[in-house]
């Protein structure tokens, strides 16, 4: 096992779950997201000398996965990519539930956001990119990132807070 593989393996172990979650939130389908992220990581490995020097290699993986998702959708243009909550929220963790399964109310609220807002939330909140980094990855202006994030947070507040504060009967 060479140094390159060690570095990549460490990178993969450290960021694979958050990359997958970012793509799940963006495309709304866990199985499709896992395929996309696996392919993106494979491409990262194939270009690892360059990708490892990228300022945000995890964002590179997510962006590659999202680009592949768009290409795949264009090739199969009759399949409308409607997020399917049951494909994401109802599955327990594969490791037997370490940390529990994802909260279905939160996932539902995320999947109700418009696609661009979901992408911004995925990159800003789940990959911890800053506004400028998110803007670079998505190819939009930093102000647009902030606007999308603001709208997304407002929508998530409206969606989640009333249900979390229901009085006990």
């Amino acid at each position: 096992m060479g140094t390159q593989r060690l570095d990549f393996a460490e990178f993969y172990r450290d960021v694979k779950d958050e990359c997958l979650f970012a793509v799940v939130v963006s495309v709304g389908d866990r199985d499709a997201a896992q395929d996309l992220v696996a392919e993106a990581f494979a491409r990262a490995w194939a270009s690892w000398p360059a990708v490892s020097r990228h300022p945000a290699p995890a964002a590179w993986v997510v962006r590659t996965a999202l680009n592949a998702s768009i290409s795949r959708w264009r090739r199969r243009h009759r399949e409308v990519p409607v997020p399917d909550l049951t494909l994401v929220a109802d599955r327990p963790a594969a490791d037997g539930g370490v940390g529990g399964s994802v909260d279905p109310r939160i996932m539902a609220a995320l999947l109700r956001l418009p696609a661009r807002q979901r992408q911004v939330v995925a990159l800003r909140l789940f990959l911890d990119l800053d506004t400028a980094g998110t803007a670079r990855v998505l190819g939009i202006a930093p102000g647009t990132v902030q606007a999308h994030l603001g709208r997304a947070m407002a929508a998530l507040r409206d969606d989640l807070i009333p249900t979390r504060q229901e009085p006990q009967s």
Partner: protein, 198 residues
């Protein structure tokens, strides 16, 4: 709940959808990606085909059988096996309509296209429900254990009523050239004269 608390709650979800693909599998795929980049003229076609081919190759394990008896005989062959399944071998990018006709004659309504083209008259089969269910259903219709990348085995008896197969063979070279097969993209469609023929 203020914004910071909301962000904390959201971020707590990150580790709850685990990526369970082993790193060894990622690296194997990465080696294949890198190897193809070294072949002149392949890289552009690869970009379009790679994601779909990866997804399908996971369902159709690959290892080209060197002893394939028909390897030099035809662009494709269709052979009914003793258990009633249909073995399809595709070698060259020729005559998808003929392959479609042959499959239909063997009891498999199919729309066959090459390299990303699709029949616009085909409509997705609605009975499969979610993508996971469709994947499971398709897995019972098309299997690839112990077959090569250019081989798929179709089980006509497992096809749902009214369903046909949409088969797209993805090649590394442009149509008309004799490229090597990258993988199959296979889905379920509604069988109809316009889509799968009559």
């Amino acid at each position: 709940m203020n914004d910071n608390e909301l962000i904390t709650v959201l971020r707590e979800q990150r580790g709850k959808v685990p990526m369970d693909t082993p790193v060894e599998q990622i690296i194997r795929r990465g080696r294949a990606v890198r190897a193809r980049r070294r072949v002149p003229g392949v890289a552009a076609a690869l970009g379009a085909a790679a994601a779909a081919a990866f997804a399908v190759s996971a369902a159709l394990p690959v290892s080209h059988p060197a002893s394939e008896p028909h390897a030099q005989l035809a662009a494709w062959t269709v052979a009914r096996q003793a258990d009633g399944s249909i073995k399809v071998t595709i070698r060259e990018l020729r005559d998808p309509a003929g392959l479609q006709q042959r499959l239909r004659a063997d009891g498999v309504p199919a729309s066959v296209t090459f390299s990303g083209q699709q029949n616009p008259a085909c409509q997705g089969y609605p009975g499969g429900g979610s993508q996971s269910q469709r994947r499971q259903l398709l897995g019972s219709v098309v299997t690839g254990p112990a077959t090569g990348r250019d081989v798929m085995v179709i089980h006509p008896a497992a096809l749902p009523s009214g369903a046909g197969l949409q088969i797209n063979a993805l090649f590394r070279h442009d149509p008309g050239q004799h490229g090597s097969l990258e993988g199959f993209s296979v889905g379920l469609v509604q069988a109809s004269p316009q889509c799968t023929g009559s």
